[in-house]
Every structure is written in structure tokens, then in C-alpha cells.
Subunit: 211 residues, 2 copies
């Protein structure tokens, strides 16, 4: 599987060595922030210069790792069978998407954590977030009765934030399947609410904040 065209083969080997080493390191170490770039370089048997030339900066490395790991799910979502694929009816697809995302973060806790917090500024500017949000939004839009699909998409995605997942699984020690069930239940609730009212909300109580 030839990857980078017009790249020297030693460059490609380095790149892959780094990817593998970083993956291993993030999986092994407790906290993402004590995986240093020098560590990664050393573990990959490569100089720091090489590492930074290949990925630009720390965020670049994280992104590359993340995308690589996410690829199968992306495929399944874009062109796969039910319940992730495009042919799935919205009410079924939304929970499936969120469950898939949750599972991904459960399986790649440290990595997701590293990307979302250290990833150079807001996670909301990352294009992988953009992708999930756009997708989820458009699927939600096909469900009648939901108030604001853009915001709802944000809110649902927020329920799968890496640090929340880490907190639940790593600190509170909630078992994996329990978290999945809770999220599923929450999503169900949100979707079900659409059944009740045509277009709720609108006015909100008067409020005079301190500032």
C-alpha cells in the first residue's frame, strides 16, 4: 500500500516508525502530557528534527494518529452498511453514530484526551470535529420536531468528550457497557423529545448577570 508519493522511502519508514512508537507510548503512559516529543523520537529511534519535519508540530502528530485510528469508522459511516451507513433511518443512525464515537474514545482514551486538550487551541476548530458535527447535524435535521439541530449536535457530541469519558471510566470506574447504555439512553431521550412539541422554547427568563 504505497502512501506518500514523491517521498523518499526512508522518510516514509521514519514516518511510520514514529506513528507506531507514538501510538504505543500514548497507550502505555498514564497521562498524555507526560509523553514528550523527545520520548516519541527516542522510542521511534529517530531524531527530533525528523519527527518535526514529518508532522509539523505536536498537534500534527496527534492529528495524524487520530485520523489513522478513525479511518475504519469513517469508512463505515460514509459507505458502510447499517446501522452506521447512510442508508440507516435517522432515528436509528444517530444513536449508532454516537455509540461508535463513544466506543472509539473508550478504545483510544489517552489519544483522544491528548488531542482534545493539548491539541493546540479549541477542539472545535479541528476538522474532524467539524466532520462529526456536520454529519450529525444533517442526520438530526431529518428528524422532525427537534428544535435546533446544530446546537443539539454540539450538545450530543459534548456528551462524548474525551475527558468526560476518561473521568467516568478511569476515575469513577463505570464499566464500559454501562457508559454506553447511559449514553444510548440519554440520546434516546433527546430524540424522543421531538415527538412532543412542534417548536418549543424561544423565550427565556430575564436575567441580569453580574458583569
Amino acid at each position: 500500500m504505497p502512501e506518500r508519493r514523491s517521498s523518499r522511502k526512508d522518510a516514509i519508514r521514519s514516518r511510520e516508525a514514529v506513528l507506531a512508537a507514538a501510538d504505543a507510548l500514548f497507550a502505555r503512559r498514564e497521562s498524555p502530557e507526560d509523553v514528550t516529543m523527545a520520548d516519541v523520537a527516542a522510542a521511534a529511534g529517530v531524531g527530533k528534527g525528523t519527527l518535526f519535519r514529518a508532522f509539523g508540530d505536536r498537534a500534527g502528530l496527534l492529528r495524524a494518529l487520530y485520523e489513522a485510528r478513525l479511518e475504519p469508522i469513517r469508512q463505515a459511516v460514509e459507505t458502510g452498511p447499517q446501522p452506521l451507513g447512510p442508508a440507516t433511518p435517522p432515528r436509528e443512525r444517530v444513536p449508532a453514530l454516537l455509540d461508535a464515537l463513544l466506543c472509539f474514545k473508550l478504545d483510544n482514551r489517552r489519544l483522544a484526551l491528548a488531542l482534545e486538550e493539548g491539541g493546540g487551541g479549541s477542539p472545535y476548530r479541528a476538522e474532524h470535529y467539524e466532520r462529526w458535527h456536520t454529519l450529525l447535524r444533517s442526520v438530526l435535521e431529518q428528524i422532525p420536531g427537534l428544535p435546533d439541530s446544530a446546537f443539539t449536535a454540539h450538545a450530543l457530541l459534548a456528551a462524548t468528550r474525551a475527558d468526560l469519558v476518561e473521568h467516568l471510566v478511569g476515575e469513577v470506574r463505570v464499566p464500559r457497557d454501562r457508559v454506553r447504555a447511559q449514553l444510548a439512553s440519554f440520546v434516546t431521550g433527546v430524540l424522543a423529545s421531538g415527538r412532543l412539541h412542534g417548536s418549543p422554547a424561544g423565550e427565556v427568563a430575564e436575567k441580569k448577570p453580574s458583569s
Copy 2:
């Protein structure tokens, strides 16, 4: 209002100078991470040593600022009148609480952002989060039909995350009241879903993740 007992008055003056300076800086500067400790010290007319003795570390300063700002809301929630106070019926209090929190983050975007991301590890270990979560959880518990109040509380709080708020208001330029309305609507939906089923969810589709 005498604050710290058994502290020398110059210490108190320094402490307050720092608090004020930091507050101003975080409000003025675009991104929280380009407010440096040295900046704060300089702006307060104080040495770095003083600053660190007073607050321990960066996270400590952020926490102190945050708590100070949050104090009025805390009061209103613990011993205040409706709709924030304890006498409010749950179905009404939950949206009020979340709206108050949202407003707070809208009014203190940079600060909340700084605390949540740079605040030394997971925001979920911070005791102010703990407080909100415990409170929200207990109020949710009084509403029959909601699946798992602990998780629901997390999920609702996640919808007010500082970086999401910042994204919506600062990037997408959604007007303040719109965001409030959207959140309100979302919360309404979540609460309403309890009306439908006694104890939903439970089983979740089989899934074999990559790892």
C-alpha cells in the same frame, strides 16, 4: 469584608492586587494562554515570588478568580429565591441552574476557558465541577422517569463547556440570547423525555471495536 485571618496586611493587599490584575488581563487578552504568570505579576506590580506564594500555582490563581466570580451565583443557588434557590420545583430549577451557569460562562469566557483547559488536568476533578454535578444530580433525581441522573447531569453540564460556549459565541457568532434559548430548549427536551417511558434503554447493539 476582612478575608484572610492571620495574614499580614501587605500580603492581603498583594493578593487582591494580583486578583484584580489577573481579572483585567484575562478579560483583555484574546486567548488565556498568552496571559503569562510574569504578565500577571508585572500588571499587579508584584514579584513572581509573591504571586506564587499567594496562590501556589497557575491553577490556584485561576481557581481563586473563578470562585470569587462565582460567589454570587453560589449564594443565589444555595440560599436564594426562585428560580435558582432550593425552594424551586425541580422541573423549573434545572433549566434555571443551567442558564445561570451558561450566563456565567458567557460573562467570563476567557476565565472559564483558562480554567477548564489549562487548569491542571481534567476539569472533572475540580471541586467546583463536583459541586455543580452533585447539585444538578440531586435535583434531577427528584424528577421521576429520568434514566440515570448522574450521567444526565454530566451530559447537561457538558453542553455548557467553556470551549463550546467560546466556539459558538466567539467563532460562529451566535448571539448570546440565541445560545441561551438553544440550551433552554435542549434542556426542556431532555427533561420532557422522562414523561414518556419509565426506564428506557438498557440493551445496546453489539459492537466489536477495532482495538
